[in-house]
């Protein structure tokens, strides 16, 4: 084994060790206890959290994907720069601000949280859909046209399959982002595991902090991992390429 490999493996080992030490430390200090002592509350918060994320993400896909397809049709292409500008501006508004703004319009509660997350996750999905379709080699579309494919056939057989990687990466970004933003839903009365994190901050209670933060972290990491897996299953083998999120 050479030196470089050795350094690589030792860093990997150190990271594993750090994670393990963290868990041992947290367990020894009984920081996970609330999950078991208040398990019914935990499950309610967890369910709320997942519901906020799932509902908002699904609606976002249902809106953003057709919108991205529509804006890349020749008829609407001219409006693309304008819509992209709005989307770019929207993306620079922090998630907390979106929650707060929605609260000022819709009041507090679960539905407001879902709506705010839905609005916020439209952006990455829309952007990646447009980028994915735009990155397709125009020669390919030309060939498809020249062989007599109808516009709908070109969309479903050429454009969408080849943009699938980028679109799914957008969905993944949105879902992971939503898991984090849902943890902020507490501040507008939307529930979720953020309730424990913020309680922990306010009460200086490490138990609440860890019992809330660690599940949220695991949820985000797991969602990211699973959606990456899904990409590898769904995306046609020939059109896989690395897309940076």
């Amino acid at each position: 084994m050479n030196t470089k490999k050795f350094i690589g493996y030792s860093v990997r080992f150190m990271i594993y060790a750090l994670v393990i030490f963290f868990f041992i430390w947290a367990i020894q200090n009984q920081y996970f206890n609330y999950i078991f002592s208040q398990s019914s509350t935990f499950l309610v918060l967890l369910r709320q959290h997942i519901e906020i994320v799932l509902v908002s993400s699904l609606i976002a896909v249902a809106i953003a994907l057709p919108a991205g397809i529509l804006i890349t049709r020749p008829r609407f292409r001219k409006a693309e720069w304008f819509v992209s500008m709005i989307v770019n501006f929207g993306q620079s508004i922090p998630s907390l601000a979106v929650l707060a703004l929605m609260m000022s319009i819709l009041g507090i509660g679960f539905k407001t949280a879902v709506f705010a997350l839905f609005i916020y996750s439209i952006l990455p999905i829309f952007r990646n859909t447009v980028a994915g379709i735009n990155s397709i080699d125009p020669n390919m579309v030309d060939a498809a046209k020249g062989m007599g494919m109808k516009p709908s056939q070109i969309l479903f057989r050429i454009e969408l399959p080849n943009a699938a990687y980028s679109i799914l990466a957008g969905v993944r970004t949105a879902v992971v982002l939503n898991i984090g933003t849902a943890a902020l839903a507490y501040v507008i009365g939307g529930g979720g595991l953020g309730v424990w994190i913020f309680t922990g901050i306010q009460l200086f209670d490490n138990g609440y902090l860890i019992s809330g933060a660690v599940p949220v972290t695991l949820m985000a990491v797991l969602a990211d991992f699973l959606l990456r897996r899904l990409e590898n299953i769904v995306v046609p083998k020939g059109s896989r390429r690395s897309v940076e999120t």
């Binding site: 390919m140 030309d142 060939a143 020249g146 007599g148 494919m149 050429i158 083998k237 020939g238």
Partner: protein, 330 residues
């Protein structure tokens, strides 16, 4: 057959991309659209399957006015090959090749049989390639697949837009040869865009030389080389057009007209050449060796005699330059 009748294409602002073009691609012929970039050759080609609109005039494809057909139906009847092959990366090779038959609603069995026969035609092993994806193939293989795809539904007419332009010279020549071989079997009516003079001379039954949207000359390659109609044509083919034209003539033709010389046995290290080889290759062989003769053999390897640089020169003078021409300033 493709018939262009007073075809004009103009853009807004009155710029004419194609001006009053008239010519016919006869059934089973290859006509090459040749010319400098921006001369309108690709636009003209794309007007045939209506990827570009026609401003004035008509294009008849197999006796039917292309404007009277639904454009989707029209395109399904015309094979289309482009430079960057345009294979779909999300589909396997089989799905790519069978896309038009699929659009036409062929059965699974028909498609499978057609795929195997097409792959045989282009000389690739069907089983090896069936499940593979375009990005796993080399440029030359991809281009062969592109040709197979255009042939899939057996369209009588094919449009080829610099199909071999992106390949390196050695592979390009090889694929040109293969394609001509296939063409002898399938006898398609082909309109072919090229900017490469050698390719045009090699592939074409007739060449359309274009400049600024207009036809400069429409002729067979040898006529065009021997009798350029105007200065542009003679300059376009260059001063060495006589040498270029040698690739249109075989050793056999030279033998028939002026005869070969006796093979001189005292000369060592003499190479041999098949009697069906073209004279351009023969000349380059003569230039690249010590000995001043090359032995000519027939298909059975029998020696017919020898050929020398003097003979080629004589032939060139006699056969190609000897005919009177309209403008010979090049």
């Amino acid at each position: 057959m493709i018939k262009f009748d007073h075809v004009t294409k103009s853009y807004e602002g009155g710029i004419n991309a194609v001006k009053d073009v008239n010519f016919t691609v006869e059934k089973g012929n290859i006509v090459v659209l040749l010319g400098p970039s921006g001369c309108g050759k690709t636009t003209l080609l794309r007007m045939v399957n209506r990827l570009e609109s026609i401003t004035k005039g008509t294009i008849n494809v197999n006796g039917q006015n292309s404007m009277e057909l639904n454009e989707i139906d029209l395109r399904k009847k015309i094979g289309y090959v482009i430079q960057s092959n345009g294979l779909f990366p999300n589909m396997t090779i089989e799905d790519n090749v069978m896309i038009v038959p699929d659009l036409l609603g062929w059965s699974k069995k028909e498609k499978r049989e057609r795929f195997y026969s097409l792959m045989g035609l282009i000389g690739l092993n069907a089983d090896d390639y069936r499940k593979r994806y375009p990005n796993e193939l080399s440029g030359g293989q991809q281009q062969r697949i592109g040709v197979a795809r255009a042939l899939a539904a057996d369209p009588p007419v094919m449009l080829m837009d610099e199909p071999f332009g992106a390949l390196d010279p050695i592979i390009r020549e090889k694929i040109q040869d293969e394609f001509l071989h296939i063409q002898r079997e399938v006898k398609k009516t082909i309109l072919f865009v090229s900017h490469d003079i050698d390719e045009a001379i090699k592939m074409a039954d007739k060449i359309v030389l274009m400049r600024g949207g207009e036809i400069m000359q429409f002729d067979t390659p040898s006529e065009m080389l021997a009798h350029p109609k105007n200065d542009f044509v003679s300059q376009f083919f260059g001063k060495d057009r006589a040498i270029k034209s040698l690739s249109l003539h075989t050793v056999k033709k030279l033998q028939d007209i002026i005869g070969l010389v006796e093979f001189d046995e005292t000369i060592q290290d003499t190479k041999t050449i098949n009697v069906n080889q073209d004279l351009r290759n023969t000349l380059s062989m003569l230039m690249n060796q010590e000995a001043d003769q090359v032995i000519v053999t027939d298909d059975n390897g029998r020696q017919l005699g020898a050929i020398t640089i003097d003979l080629v020169q004589k032939y060139l003078h006699f056969e190609i330059k000897g005919k009177p021409s309209v403008a010979q300033k090049g």
